[in-house]
Subunit: 428 residues, 2 copies
């Protein structure tokens, strides 16, 4: 089919009438569909059910270092959980601290601590006139919510197919001492599914920040969340690169098992240099007597080792792959060649990012909702919820069943077509 922009007003109007009939029919079904959040599906949750049987009243609940996991003690994680998450995060075991049930909380704590106590002895950010963060866009709304909550000024940096625009990152980070961090989801990024290229990672590691307390907030949330067995993205391990470049302290890595075992009942961790971890432990010692060691033990014994985890992720992929394929096929079949939107086909992660014609995202999300499909709010992928082009929409295909997803994808493309036609007609 021809691109919409090449159609006449009459052709567009006729098309619109047809599509509206179709939309009315779909709407009449009164469906309730949700592609708004990166939630694993029930089928995926079932994959980990045997984890519930790992610890029983007959189990020996003493961990490798001889500590009874039922009691107080062990501030920063039991040995076997550290080993598992270290392998998952591709860092040495001693560069890991295990936290509670999610990495979001670890990131929040990291910013909160920097506000009140600075970073490794630097001035607490709350005492500074201005603190800024770089935010590659589109990005993850919950990252932006943390920095907004603490009154940190967020600066958009456009994503490219190889990661954030490093020319801009270098220029800003190296010149402005108020810039204290950058939010990164470096692999299968949220929402685009982009993996940072080797060059991007190298340029990150070579950064010479104007601020001594600048840190790269490397949220490797989807490090082992591949979709295809034969097509993986590869991401260079940044902690070692930073070390090689003489900046071992410049990066905090975050990850959790939320989308591996159970969301909200997993274990989260931070990986960083010895000096960073010493700084973090100073706070932890005040904040807690230790996190849930029984859940750490449960995870370590269930997965056994990183190989067990990798095998487990293949089962997740088997469930996720057809869902991504369904959405991508619908986009391709229904919108291919129409020039009213663009998207990438990711090899992992939880999202597909859709860029509509400028000024159409909000209207598309509203249109889809009319027919019972909830999408992530348009704008959510930008700081302050403001997409300057009103173009980006995040599609989260994981939660609905395959059947629901087919319906949802149909509603979505129909909404895109209708809103785009209106936009084109408006400008004629």
């Amino acid at each position: 089919m021809a691109a919409y922009k090449d159609l006449s007003k009459k052709e567009l109007s006729a098309l619109k009438a047809d599509l509206e009939k179709e939309f009315k029919k779909v709407k009449a079904k009164g469906m309730k569909l949700d592609m708004s959040r990166g939630k694993p599906s029930t089928e995926q949750l079932n994959l980990s059910m045997e984890m519930m049987d790992v610890l029983t009243s007959k189990s020996d609940l003493v961990c490798e270092e001889g500590v009874d996991c039922r009691n107080y003690g062990v501030l920063d994680g039991i040995k076997e959980a550290k080993q598992l998450l270290a392998d998952m995060m591709e860092v040495p075991k001693d560069n890991i601290v295990i936290f509670g049930n999610s990495s979001l909380n670890v990131m929040y704590d990291t910013i909160a601590r920097s506000m009140t106590h600075g970073v490794m002895g630097s001035t607490p950010w709350s005492k500074l006139d201005k603190v800024k963060f770089l935010c590659p866009v589109p990005g993850y709304d919950r990252h932006f919510a943390i920095t907004e909550y603490f009154g940190i000024e967020m600066i958009n940096v456009p994503m490219t197919p190889t990661g954030p625009d490093m020319d801009i990152v270098e220029k800003l980070v190296c010149s402005d001492p108020a810039i204290k961090g950058i939010w990164c989801v470096p692999k299968y990024s949220n929402p685009q599914g982009i993996t940072y290229s080797d060059e991007t990672v190298h340029r990150f590691a070579k950064l010479k920040p104007a601020a001594e307390d600048f840190r790269i907030y490397w949220d490797n949330a989807y490090g082992i969340h591949h979709l295809y067995e034969d097509k993986h993205d590869y991401l260079i391990e940044i902690f070692m690169e930073c070390k090689r470049e003489g900046h071992p302290d410049m990066v905090y890595k975050f990850a959790s098992t939320s989308k591996i075992s159970f969301p909200g009942s997993g274990i989260g961790a931070i990986a960083a240099s010895d000096a960073n971890l010493a700084d973090i432990r100073k706070q932890m010692r005040i904040q807690t007597i230790g996190h849930d060691k029984l859940n750490q033990l449960r995870h370590a014994r269930y997965f056994g080792d990183i190989h067990g985890m990798v095998k487990h992720m293949r089962r997740h992929a088997d469930i996720m792959r057809p869902k991504f394929d369904t959405v991508l096929q619908t986009l391709e079949t229904e919108l291919g060649g129409l020039e009213i939107g663009s998207w990438l086909a990711p090899r992992g992660g939880y999202f597909i990012s859709f860029d509509a014609m400028e000024g159409c995202a909000k209207a598309i999300v509203a249109k889809a909702k009319e027919a019972g499909l909830v999408m992530t709010d348009a704008g959510a992928t930008f700081p302050y919820g403001k997409d300057p082009r009103d173009s980006n929409i995040r599609i989260a295909p994981s939660y609905p069943t395959l059947e629901e997803l087919k319906e949802a994808a149909k509603i979505f493309v129909l909404s895109v077509k209708l809103v785009s036609i209106d936009k084109l007609l408006e400008n004629m």
Copy 2:
């Protein structure tokens, strides 16, 4: 036996020689004993082992409000966990927010939030020149560690047999707007085992603080941790009292199941007014997608209801009671009448507080260590670790076995005697 102060120099010296022989013998045994922390014993941990079997791969993991506890969702706690902890904390279910694995972390978060965001719209404490907290002494070292970490000035308020000296509390709280809080362990207090009297609670509820963002930090850590079935202390419920006095927002209550189920793998909660909880949820929403619902469900199903928890606590008491009795009997038999120390016999909680002669606490703890007995550091029960009289020692009888405890108590009284004689001789 006569009071040591009435003995002659010669008599004391002779006694000292005998006691030193005894001490040498005990020391030669090379024991390793620990009465330093309020840790449940292995026997107590075993009481909750069946909790490990409550959730299995065959369980329905959907909670009462129909949410799959394995997935994201439910910010502030599942209904059945709220009900259980509400009953435990003696407040309505809607005045509870469930957090992660410990109440210490909840208290830390509460102070941290007040530093960066104030309390219900007040000026963030980090923007103020001076923030002060009242600290009833002796008290809990980890409370003091939190306020110290945030640079909050701590003011000692002496404990009396009915709670903190309320004349001082009223005078300070009502006149100084820099005073933002007071740390309280109102029932079976740490370390003295004192329960605040009705009058004390009433006077708390009637406080008219100079600071609008003053809060009572009511850490009811031992609310149902009785030692005797027939002798309970009763504590008036403060939230309702504050409400009646027209100050519903003046109190935060904290508690957890750490010393009910498993320390570090329990669930923590805060109870407060609707307005306080709304303020707290604003932060929580940024900090986390929700805490570990599977562990909440595990607790709710294991205990069933508050009656199940109360029955469970009787089994804890059966284990704790002989330990407390052993220590108290040894103190009575060995130190009674000597006038070299005083103590209270608590009806619950985890500690016995011992007041040595002025200037002796550090030396007693050091002496005990010589013979292989680790006690809580002298001074730990005071802000900044500074006991102005160097007198208070916290005894934690829960962790050692009864056999170990007998030895530990012997070493302790021997150390008290030896150090006290030295002190008396010094001043002769």
